[in-house]
Amino acid sequence: MSRTPEGLREEQLWFARAVMTGAALDQVGQRLTAGPKLGPLERLDVYRRGYEARLVECLADDYPVLERALGEEPFAALCRAYVARHPSEAPNLNAYGRHMAEVCPGFAADLARLEWAIVEVIHEPAGAPLTLEDLAAVPAEGWATARLVPSRAVRILTLDYPANDYFQAVREGNTPPLPERAPSATAVYRSGHAVWRMGLTPTMHRVLDALVAGELLEAALALAGDEPPEQVTAWFREWVSGGLFVGVEAR
């Protein structure tokens, strides 16, 4: 077991605290030299500015519509608070923004959930989509026990606000007002390289939620209730062709 390099350790603990929290800056003159044109603190500031800016930029990449909703400066302030509360502990920033919904109120939290679902499905494998031919191959006696296998790149969101409508309006170049509270549901999924969002009616939500949860196909479709069968068939075809499912299991 090698000995801990005490001097190096102590230097790193100080440097990291100074960069990440601004603590112990009074020691900067003892620890860092002046350069040709900058003093020790000004030189350290290159790292201090870079640290916060890098993480804020990462959050802005993950939450572009949230930034639009809140406004540039309020969003930046939110991000700075996020950075202080959630220092990164991972080798990359893929999952860094996962806590955003927890630090947002009301509609902003729902918008953050929607945008985070987009990030999540990007990093999940989409898998080879189920085809209508795969379904046709299920023997008649298998339908009673058939279940669909959902793609890992699917998220079904149950929200308190119409976040997807707002998101879509911003994507279309509009500046919509912040919406009033109204329940909504959205499927976020990836098909090939493209990420899709699909607004769900309450009935669609009920059926799709059950299918994605692995309920028996017949039981899940029965949740459509009085919905016309041709409508349910159309939804079903859209979900299958959209790549929300990667297989069918039947005993």
Binding site: E11, G35, R43, N92
Partner: protein, 275 residues
């Protein structure tokens, strides 16, 4: 003089950037090789790997990391190394590189390439870790000289001496970033030619060039815009001293169209010659 590790001179390549994925896969431009940012393809099972597989099917790649944190006093991250090795095997990367730096301590990651105090203690520490990483990978690790903005009062030797002794003691390869030499030379007031004169070029397997941002009082290694002629001339000097090495342009900020970055990379050919 080829490098002592027998690693190939891949020619003039480009850092692979997400905004160029689609163009590269569809247009299949003639490019010698790509350098991939290792962490972009770690802790993901999705789209980044799908693009990467399509590109590594057609082009040679080398891996370049930013989170090995070889200089940290935290323990080496075994899970990170395991994923790094798996990515190397998946991409058939010709080599794996990272920086002579640390990125965090106490389990936190700043996602920055933080400077080392160049002390005897740090040299022993880093050399031991480089050897451990190389044992784990079963291949030489190429370490890159960082751009730095501070120096420690505790420093006992210049960076070029630290780098040369480290390479010798750990028996590792080097990735010499001539833009970083230029940037640090300005920020610390040393002579870039003196730095190059101390580099053990038989260990240099790759050379980096990039643009930077001059703030008047200091230069930041921003990887933005074209490469200035002084850096190109350093590249030519380094390439000749190495007897040839793979050259790579990094362009990370305000990344323009693929053709623009590729044309900039190919300017290297005006400054490098026959070994």
């Amino acid at each position: 003089m080829a490098n002592r590790f027998g690693l190939p001179d891949l020619g003039v390549g480009l850092g692979l950037r997400t905004v160029h994925y689609s163009h590269i896969v569809q247009a299949r431009p003639e490019v010698d090789w790509f350098e991939i940012l290792s962490e972009n393809y770690m802790q993901t099972a999705g789209r980044p790997l799908e693009w990467l597989d399509a590109i590594t099917d057609r082009y040679p790649v080398a891996m370049h990391g930013v989170s090995l944190s070889i200089g940290s006093t935290d323990p080496l991250d075994r899970a990170y190394l395991t994923e790094l090795r798996a990515l190397r095997d998946r991409t058939k990367a010709r080599w794996v590189s990272d920086h002579l730096c640390w990125t965090g301590v106490s389990g936190k990651n700043t996602h920055d390439l933080l400077p080392m105090p160049y002390t005897e203690e740090a040299l022993r520490h880093v050399a031991g870790r480089v050897r451990a990483v190389q044992d784990f990978l079963g291949a030489p690790l190429a370490l890159e000289n960082p751009s730095t903005y501070v120096e420690f009062t505790a420093g006992e030797m210049p960076e070029w001496e630290f780098l040369a002794r480290l390479a010798e003691e750990a028996d590792c390869a080097l990735l010499l970033d001539v833009n970083n030499v230029f940037v640090s030379a300005y920020n610390h007031g040393f002579d870039a030619r003196e730095y190059l004169a101390a580099v053990p070029f038989d260990r240099v397997v790759q050379l980096h060039v990039a643009g930077h941002t001059h703030h008047g009082t200091h230069i930041v290694d921003s990887h933005i815009g074209p490469v200035i002629d002084e850096v190109w001339r350093l590249l030519g000097d380094a390439w000749k001293r190495a007897g040839g090495a793979s050259v790579l342009l990094e362009w990370d900020a305000e990344v323009p169209a693929f053709e623009v970055t590729h044309a900039e990379a190919l300017r290297a050919k005006d400054f490098i010659g026959t070994p």
